[in-house]
């Protein structure tokens, strides 16, 4: 199957107090060895300020509907079973995070370290989630 058929995510990282200028951004991380053909996914490696709250925005750069999973972790490597588990997880649309106002910076969805979230992107509808660095 062509990789163009998969969600093409773009990640933006903001501080909680300024959602107009992102601190970091990434479209494709290009990790063929991990993802095989699925190279359209994104990674931000960032030096977070301890105790500060951040916001993450996820969009599909083609503005199309599709699924993706997201995780916050301390290193690049996925824990055993994470990739395989995500690939077998189907997410219905709208996903459960829509009820948490996740289409705006006022989201109540929080990304917890090492806890994967499975999402479905609506067309033209970005996903927002909060991160607090302990």
């Amino acid at each position: 199957m062509s990789r163009e058929k998969y969600t093409d995510t773009k990640l933006y990282l903001y501080s909680e107090d300024d959602t107009t200028k992102w601190l970091a951004v990434n479209d494709d991380w290009c990790s063929d060895l991990e993802f095989g053909d699925y190279t359209l996914y994104s990674t931000i490696q960032y030096p977070f300020e301890i105790g500060k709250k951040y916001l993450v925005k996820v969009v599909d750069i083609n503005d199309t509907e599709g699924g993706y999973s997201i995780i916050l972790q301390n290193d690049m490597n996925f824990a055993a079973g994470v990739l395989a588990g995500a690939r077998t997880t189907m997410v219905s649309s709208p996903d459960t995070y829509e009820a948490m106002n996740d289409d705006s910076p006022a989201t109540t969805n929080t990304l917890i370290a090492d806890t994967i979230q499975h999402h479905s992107l609506e067309s033209g509808d970005p996903d927002w989630m909060a991160i607090t660095i302990d």
């Binding site: 990640l11 699925y38 996914y41 490696q45 699924g67 995780i71 690049m76 189907m90 999402h119």
Partner: protein, 368 residues
């Protein structure tokens, strides 16, 4: 899209400059005091460029009452024109774009009208006409194409939509219930105005290059931020449907929010199955500048002399552009609605009070 490559004044000017450089730059000049022999130079004939301002006329519909409207593109130049024919029981709309030389039709709508009251009608779209990729064949849409375009060009509800056609003198107010709820004034409904004037004065004239996206990526080498990295930039051209590109060169420059600059980067033309792209893989010798990088400048030059320069002052601002068409018309646009390609390079060290973490997206079972 039709393309015509012609000679332009810019080329003639370049030729004259080249001749001047050849004469004055010679190292074999010998000062002569008596009867020097003047070199004989025959300058090339200048081509006649088209007027940078002209008036062009849409073709008239063949029957019924004829209405016209025009729209400018984001460069402030006439781009789109539309004709509307009404005869009381049917309608026919044909849309055109201005390709720099002439109006080229790209879509037609045809259907029937059934009066409701006053100037309101039930308008049933019966056929959509499209131009094929070669720009030569005008054909009725397939069932699939009709279904695909219906919600975009007519109604999200059905092929029959309420329309209002209120003519007053030389103008026609046109409204269409695009969301299908029966009203004509909702945000998603369509409204425009036609006139009886088939001509428009083009404020600009000619062809010009443009860029529909740029990208800049370190391809994950940010994991070793102090090592080499490969930024990649791809520029796409919409005006080129020929086997060989009309683009002579694409040159980009990148900046880091901490002040570092990189470039000029001369891109390579890379044909692929979907068209011609311009890209360059670059390897840095030193990538010690952490932070946001963005492609702050792109300069595209056509072989016919047209140019466009995009600039973005920071990673959060859209490009602005200045351009010159192939006929010598110059203009600018403050906001192209296009963000520069960009990527984030993590610093070598996290710094005091900070901790490095990774946010990663990955494929799941609903991704395809």
């Amino acid at each position: 899209m039709k393309q015509k490559v012609v000679l332009f004044a810019a080329f003639a000017l370049i030729s004259l400059l080249a001749i001047a450089c050849d004469s004055s730059g010679s190292s074999d000049v010998v000062m002569q005091t008596d009867d020097p022999i003047e070199p004989v130079v025959t300058p090339p004939a200048l081509p006649s460029p088209r007027s940078p301002v002209s008036t062009d006329t849409l073709p008239a519909p063949t029957s019924g009452s004829a209405w016209y409207r025009f729209e400018n593109n984001s460069y402030g130049m006439a781009l789109a024109g539309e004709t509307l024919t009404l005869d009381g029981s049917s309608f026919e709309q044909t849309s055109y774009y201005w390709d720099g030389d002439s109006w080229e039709k790209f879509m037609g709508l045809k259907g029937s009208l059934s009066p409701i009251s006053g100037s309101d009608y039930n308008a049933t779209l019966e056929a959509i006409y499209l131009i094929d990729d070669s720009g030569a064949t005008w054909h009725g849409s397939s069932t699939e194409e009709f279904a695909m375009y219906l919600s975009h060009v007519w109604s999200k509800a059905s092929a029959t939509a309420r329309v209002s056609l209120a003519a007053s003198g030389t103008s026609l107010a046109y409204k269409r219930d695009q969301d299908g709820n029966g009203a004509l004034t909702d945000a998603l409904d369509f409204a425009t105005a036609f006139t009886t004037t088939p001509s428009t004065t083009l404020t600009g004239h000619g062809k010009y290059p443009w860029v529909n996206y740029t990208s800049w990526s370190f391809h994950g080498n940010t994991a070793q931020a102090s090592s080499s990295a490969g930024p990649d930039t791809i520029l796409s051209e919409c005006l080129d449907d020929s086997a060989s590109s009309l683009v002579a060169s694409v040159v980009g420059r990148a900046k880091n929010q901490n002040g570092a600059v990189y470039g000029p980067i001369s891109y390579d033309c890379v044909p692929d199955g979907e068209g011609i792209e311009w890209e360059k893989d670059y390897t840095f010798a030193d990538v010690s500048y952490g932070g946001l990088w963005w492609l702050y400048e792109d300069v595209v030059t056509y072989k016919n002399g047209a140019t466009v320069t995009y600039r973005a002052a920071d990673p959060w601002s859209h490009y602005s552009a200045t351009y010159k068409t192939d006929t010598g018309y110059t203009g600018s646009i403050a906001d192209c609605g296009l963000l520069p390609g960009q990527d984030y390079m993590p610093p070598d060290t996290a710094g005091a009070g900070k901790t490095v973490k990774y946010i990663r997206t990955l494929v799941n079972g609903s991704s395809g």
